[in-house]
Symmetry: C2
Subunit: 202 residues, 2 copies
Amino acid sequence: MGKINIITIGREYASGGRTVGKMIAEKLGILFYNKEILHMAAANLNMSADDVRFADETAASSLLYSMSLMSNLSTSSALPLNDRIYIEEREVIKSLAHKGPCVIVGRCADSILKDIRDDVLNVFIYADTDARVKRAIDEYGEDPDEVYASLRKHDKKRSTYYNLNTGQKWGAKDNYDICLNSAKIGVDVCAEMIMKLATELK
Amino acid sequence: MGKINIITIGREYASGGRTVGKMIAEKLGILFYNKEILHMAAANLNMSADDVRFADETAASSLLYSMSLMSNLSTSSALPLNDRIYIEEREVIKSLAHKGPCVIVGRCADSILKDIRDDVLNVFIYADTDARVKRAIDEYGEDPDEVYASLRKHDKKRSTYYNLNTGQKWGAKDNYDICLNSAKIGVDVCAEMIMKLATELK
């Protein structure tokens, strides 16, 4: 892919970011990681996917965790499970990036790889609320009466998770190389644009 | 250009946004408006470019102006000159958009055209501080000792101007369809990406 080997995709809930990532991985013939990262981290901790589902992109925001970032507490069982999983996911992400070209969705991958690799393209996908509501109802089968609350809840969860773990602001354009409004542009064209960038950047 | 006739470009100071816009206009063979909008607004107010240079993308933020947005005071000479010019620029931008395909840089054009046209692509160009510092020194000939202050001053001026006049937040991705980091992507590829989008969107 030229200079770029890794594409990270941050995304607002129901913006189609995961779909965009999957399209790119399929068309470029590279690996796609989303929930797989959680499952790999769980396996490394000798846990099942069921054990850790609750912790997916969810911050525990403990003081112990903040301390662990500055020390070597990372494997300490004194940490809340969310934090132990995040720390393990961080290692999984670094190791996957090292293995070869891939698309990584969410999980602070942009920030985790920021200072250690220069072959990463960081993308953020967002969309107007109306378009996200439609996607959540049509594609995720959400209850129309609860969909606005669902959008708020999921975005809040993702932003808290990202902000606490990275010290950066989730969705702030400065963390990304390109931000695309999928409601205006469409997921197909979003995928095309990102592939074009990833293959053309020198 | 398919569905898109107007491309608006917001930009951080020294991010290369103006250059990107100029490239697009030249390659697509459409008109390019930047400071021309100020000059046209001045002419409509029977003033010279010299008379109004101080007011370029500068907010007066007066109470009178806020009132004028809700009434028909727009031609009132009671308003500060900055505000009279903004109101006139708003009319110039609407009229230029009506005339035919073009690129418009800055001047809140995205917000001004938002509710009245659906053939607009709104772009924001930003870049890392280091890259902007380099551009300001190399291309604008700024003094290296004062360049950080210059960046802050210009961005502050643009954000105040945009935020007060539109009620939106300058540079917040939700106001734009695509945001591009010109330091990572390069101005040439930024221009290519935007042209591709503008010509392909249906």
